[in-house]
């Protein structure tokens, strides 16, 4: 299983907000295993979906040059227990971004019905943490799967361009795929 906790982006405005959806299903083990016979979507997997939505919003703001990680779930209020089988919409708004981190306000909806409100804080790793988080060519593949460049727009309404360093990694990967 891949560690993807969203399916697609619906909207992505650089440095402002991102909207993604997650199709949940009872065929996903964790939804039934969590509370057997009462297949609610675990809150932790929703938080992870928001973190992926927000993490990419924060990362894109820096041209995907920074290594962004979820640093803290500052606050989380769950109003409902979403039942697996529904489509959840994750909206993340970038409230503040600084060189060392970012703060996001998030909502989770099922249709028009509010399910949860969450505040997330992201940190941008510095040299104390030298590890690479993603292999760049795989990372670009993931961004394409999420439709980020299909729906993504800059603040001026222009399409978000794929950063050159990711395209270069993709070219190298295609030329020598066994290296990865």
């Amino acid at each position: 299983m891949r560690w993807f906790w969203i399916d697609r982006f619906l909207e992505f405005e650089s440095g402002v907000r991102a909207v993604a959806y997650k199709n949940t299903s009872i065929t996903e083990d964790h939804n039934d295993d969590y509370q057997p016979s009462y297949p609610i979507v675990p809150a932790s997997t929703i938080i992870e979906g928001l973190a992926q939505t927000g993490g990419l919003l924060v990362g894109e703001h820096g041209g995907f040059q920074e290594r962004v990680v979820l640093a803290k779930v500052a606050k989380a209020t769950f109003h409902k227990y979403p039942i697996a089988g529904t489509t959840l919409t994750y909206t993340v708004e970038l409230e503040d971004i600084q060189p060392d981190g970012a703060f996001c306000q998030c909502t989770v909806k099922d249709g028009d019905e509010l399910q949860a409100e969450v505040q997330l804080m992201f940190a941008q790793l510095d040299d104390r943490f030298p590890e690479e988080l993603f292999e760049p060519a795989n990372f670009l593949r993931m961004l394409r799967l999420f439709d980020l460049f299909k729906v993504g727009r800059t603040k001026d309404g222009q399409p978000i361009a794929i950063p050159e360093h990711l395209l270069e990694a993709e070219r190298l990967d295609m030329a020598a795929p066994e290296a990865n």
Binding site: A71, K72, A74, K75, E95, D96, Q98, D100, G101, F103, M121, A123
Partner: protein
């Protein structure tokens, strides 16, 4: 300019939200780390909330002078030197360093900052 009471009120709100502590735990003498349980990542959260609440910008080095504490010129054998203390006082005029000075172990520095220090710092920022 907000009054001292208004500053304390907003700082308290920020700490209650960021640290999940009760309002009555946030006394002026409470230390951020020891009494309120703040971890390093919480300071980023607190700074975000204070910047928003007061409409100010908080340069990280003003509240957390890590560059001084990692500078060999100012730290000898795990202790901050006299020159280091002088530098800290210059950088953090809002902080009460009197207790720290008696045994200036670098590892204890993180537990120095009190709610009152934070309020005094904010007061200097909003007065600018």
């Amino acid at each position: 300019m907000p009054s001292k009471e208004e500053v304390l009120e907003k700082v308290t709100d920020a700490l209650v939200d960021a640290l999940g502590v009760d309002e009555d735990e946030v006394t002026p003498e409470a230390t951020m780390v020891g009494d309120l349980g703040a971890e390093s990542i919480d300071f980023l959260d607190i700074v975000f909330r204070l910047e928003k609440a007061f409409g100010i910008e908080i340069p990280r080095s003003e509240l957390f002078p890590e560059d001084i504490l990692t500078n060999a010129e100012y730290v000898k054998e795990g202790k901050v030197t006299d020159a280091g203390i002088a530098e800290l006082k210059k950088r953090m005029p809002f902080a009460d360093l009197s207790k720290f000075e008696t045994n200036p172990q670098v590892q204890d520095f993180g537990n120095l900052l009190t709610v009152n220090d934070l309020c005094r710092y904010i007061e200097t920022k909003v007065a600018d």
